[in-house]
Assembly symmetry: D2
Homo-oligomer: 342 residues x 4
């Protein structure tokens, strides 16, 4: 059994890791930390876990984590970079769900995240945990930087087009809609149901932190300079991301086949048959990305629709997928679930 620790177990990605890991046949969740709730039983805060988890929250200290085989960071940005080095030194694998190690350009990271990087030496070593791109690098990695939720949905949608070089990469548009759980479990007026329910809005149109992460990922596979306009929106639901992606084709081709072939071996990316639209409910609670390919009126604008559950394939599920790869397990273990519909 793999002994797993979760640092930051009270947020939504933390409790989602618990939901997945307590049923994972190869994992034992041995440590869950919370500075605020140390001493409290985990299932007292989260009654959905009663009968599945009998540990108590502990303080996020090295000594509490030292017997783990793997430690997940489900923390705000800026925490993993303080502890990663010590954990790695103990031979513990680190899977970071926050943004600390996602951006290779340290200055770019510091600009967007507004703090100094506390552990720049590990940035280069960290492997960006998008298995559909980096599977072979992930397997031997010690430190995984799990992609953000928006970046996962957007990259999986654009990748086949950029890898094939069939679009103008300089004028990409990603109009993306997220459920409110993406804002996390934080006491903020802007996330109240009275503020977000029955309403729809864009936010951070001037610039969102996921922009440099997406651009980096797209640039890595593109044969040209990538230019992206990324507009995130908040939609009145809890889980789900729907990316609507626009690009200009530079040649005629069978788009449907391009996508189906690119993802034919991927068990968590599902290209829908021509003419079927994606819907976030069809991936709710599952680790799947579903994609639909459209070419309205047969013109030269391609419209890709890509949906994920932001807490699963966009965070905790993808983290477990990475863990499975790192520990040589079947990539799907613990992740075989059918979306909760309706």
């Amino acid at each position: 059994m793999i002994r797993a620790g979760i640092v930051g177990g009270t947020g939504y990605t933390g409790v989602e890791l618990l939901r997945i890991l307590v049923l994972h046949p190869q994992v034992e969740v041995s440590v869950v930390t919370s500075r605020a709730d140390a001493g409290l039983r985990v299932d007292q805060l989260y009654p959905s876990l009663r009968g599945y988890c009998d540990v108590k929250f502990t303080l996020p200290e090295l000594d509490n984590l030292k017997d783990c085989d793997v430690v997940f960071f489900a923390t705000p940005n800026g925490t993993a970079m303080l502890m990663a080095e010590s954990l790695l030194a103990l031979g513990i694998k680190v899977i970071d769900l926050s943004a600390d190690f996602r951006i290779k350009d340290r200055q770019e990271w510091e600009k967007w995240y507004g703090m100094q990087h506390a552990c720049p030496d590990l940035i280069a070593e960290a492997v960006y945990g998008l298995p559909e791109v980096n599977r072979e690098q992930i397997k031997p990695a010690r430190l995984i930087a799990c992609p953000g939720c928006y970046p996962t949905a957007v990259q999986l949608g654009f990748l086949p087009l950029l890898e094939a070089g069939v679009i103008d990469g300089s004028q990409l548009i990603a109009d993306v809609k997220s459920g409110v759980s993406g804002a996390g479990r934080k006491a903020e007026i802007s996330s109240l149901m009275s503020e977000t329910g029955e309403s729809f809005k864009a936010y951070a149109v001037g610039g969102h932190r996921h922009l440099p992460e997406i651009t980096q990922g797209l640039q890595n596979v593109a044969k040209q300079a990538v230019g992206l306009t990324f507009v995130p929106h908040l939609t009145p639901m809890i889980r789900g991301i729907h990316a609507t992606l626009y690009a200009r084709l530079n040649r005629k081709l069978d788009l449907q086949s391009l996508f189906e072939e690119r993802y034919s071996e991927e068990r968590f990316v599902d290209v829908l048959p021509n003419g079927i639209h994606v819907d976030t409910r069809n991936v709710r609670g599952s680790n799947r990305c579903q994609i639909a390919v459209n070419q309205p009126q047969g013109g030269d604008t391609v419209v890709i629709l890509s949906v994920i559950d932001n807490l699963v394939k966009g965070a905790s599920g993808q983290a477990v997928q990475n863990m499975n790869l790192v520990f040589g397990l079947d990539e799907c273990q613990g992740l075989e679930t059918v979306a909760l519909y309706p």
Copy 2:
């Protein structure tokens, strides 16, 4: 024109007062206070008010309010009792939407609200602002204690039965469901959309602050000792309260007529025809209470359904109704709106 001031203009009852008052033909909103946002234009925080309100938030100080004819307190409990005396001394009418002056028994109030009452001398003078019961006392009053949202829905449903003495008042049950705006515009995890959306729960089953207020109101009109079990619930919507009220009849009678006659002159209480159920959407945004009377299987249990919009008839609309009475205006002025359906 009546010059109105609003103390605590950034919460939901405050902005709802603004929504109503900026269109009231006899009122000019001259002061809106906010400790946190003083100096900011009101319509910058609330873009829905652009073009209707050009004042800025000011500090909640007596000097800023001294030219008002009426001051509304849309504040947390414990604020109105600190300022009411000074305002009254200036000849300003005070309409308090908080709970400070609702309970006549000071010790009871202090027990439930967990603080010492700062202005006990005014408790007796304050008139409980439920016009359907106290209209004549409201008209000459200087200080109005507006009823809470739950108390309004529950009292209007039970009153005809208790006044007529046709039920056993010792075993009343009020199972009441509220939208989440009742929790206010406060940064609390429990009010996040991720916590309250797509879920339903009871809360404060052991005892809610509105219990003594409701009991006091019912006892005032009852011919017997009142015993009430009150269970509030949170329902995943923003506005609306639905009270389901249960009592045992002690005689046979025409319940429908009893209710229709009791409220025949009331312009904000609407008894639906027999067989039609109430629905919170049918009062959303309006100052109305709609009531349906049921006697399942013709048995001796009466089931009253009573709905209001918690922010209108349950708070700001009722406050304006009181203001109209106090200033000798048509009781409906500024309150003639049709619910927003769908």
Copy 3:
């Protein structure tokens, strides 16, 4: 492997059976019927099942079902009673999620369901599939009548009190709130999001079909005549039932212990510790009933809160639990899931 057939696979209980059964280690879903969609692949209608279910809808004819070991009816009322006899004659177990065999009194059934019973001979044999009451009768049964959603939540809440004889059974009140999926996947204006979203209402206050079912179940365990007022409500969410149950105690006792002991061996009924409220989100997608016991102000009114997911413990999950019992499997197989929170 148990070969399972589902009659009526396009409704919400049908697709929920699929969600559970495609991951059940002992079951192969070999037949899914739909009169309207025969010939269509199941996963074309329900893309959430892509990769998990490769059968097509077939017509609901005996010939298509004859190789099944068990057939589930996820049909409107009135269908199972037409086919049950033929299936049983072939040695096939029948698990009916509709109401056809729930009520032992045929005339009562015909009154509430407005049709003649087509198969009265089997009514007596059918076992009411509430394992927490009838486990031993379920195991050898050929025909299971699965409880309705409201009846499951209400009975599990009242049972310990009635079995112990500690309440006045003649004045029970069940104020129950359901998500909209309980109305099924039917094209009806009353179930549109524009009609049910952001609104709350009671319905069928005069009499709901689940009333005789609940009363029959409670009467079976009570030592006295049972009288119940049952008021169902529609709450603006998709899944979940919250029952708020009221009764008068006839003696002093430790209610918390009563409930904990009654359900100590039940793996799908979870009595929360004193002081914790239930919340439908904590059972969403799981086969669990969570119960909280309250005695407001230490009075003689007991308030029981009981939540289930109406599509799981209230329908398809409970059906699989029954199947597990009938086939001698671990009662929990295929049902070990953690609720989807948030």
Copy 4:
């Protein structure tokens, strides 16, 4: 008083017309038709109107409408074109909320709407009722074709840019999100809360009927050939449209001033100050379009955000605005409301 008739009074745009008109000081609603509900009191179907509307539904026959000054068609497409000619012949103004007279190219209309046009002679005369573009033509008109909901939000967002000729009109993208009331009050599975709640999806990506209407409107003001990619989405809320519009600038300019000046005299178009995002809740229930102008990272892609309430500025409110113009009233009469927030 203007005597108004509403043909098709049971749908959402019909009941929204009623909500507005019953409070309009210059209008008396004298006829409301419904084929299905003729004979029923309007307020029996819509209890929100109790006390405001005492007419009954009548059959949609000319004889019932002949005393009206104006008739609104809140009908499905294909009805207004059958009755308009007769009504006009009686001197009655016709305001059509359906699509019958919106498209000037008859063949184009017939292609998208899948029927033959029954009244082609009136197509040329009909005035497209977008006052911000056609105010002077609307005033003397006999027949108004009210714009669709999507077309209103999209056109108001793109117009200043196209009129000024500052963008490349051949590569416009409109990514638009609508609440579910846009689908109307029709018994369809796809509009159930269980299908649309807690989920987000695009639809009709291959081609939506509003595409030719939007293109026609944009082309009328553009100095170049217009090419538009229009992707509508369904968002889990009842009211509101949020258009996110993308275009490439062909020169540097002060976009904020361009928009503020273009709409400085428009009372129902509100350009927000730089840096404030729009939110559909801020126009809910009001006849306003709020617009925000963005130029991410100072690049050459302009992002316009435009929100309306689809049932008000996107349908019934705009219809009343047109009526006010046609009858020489203040354009704002009956439309002075503040959005319902929260």
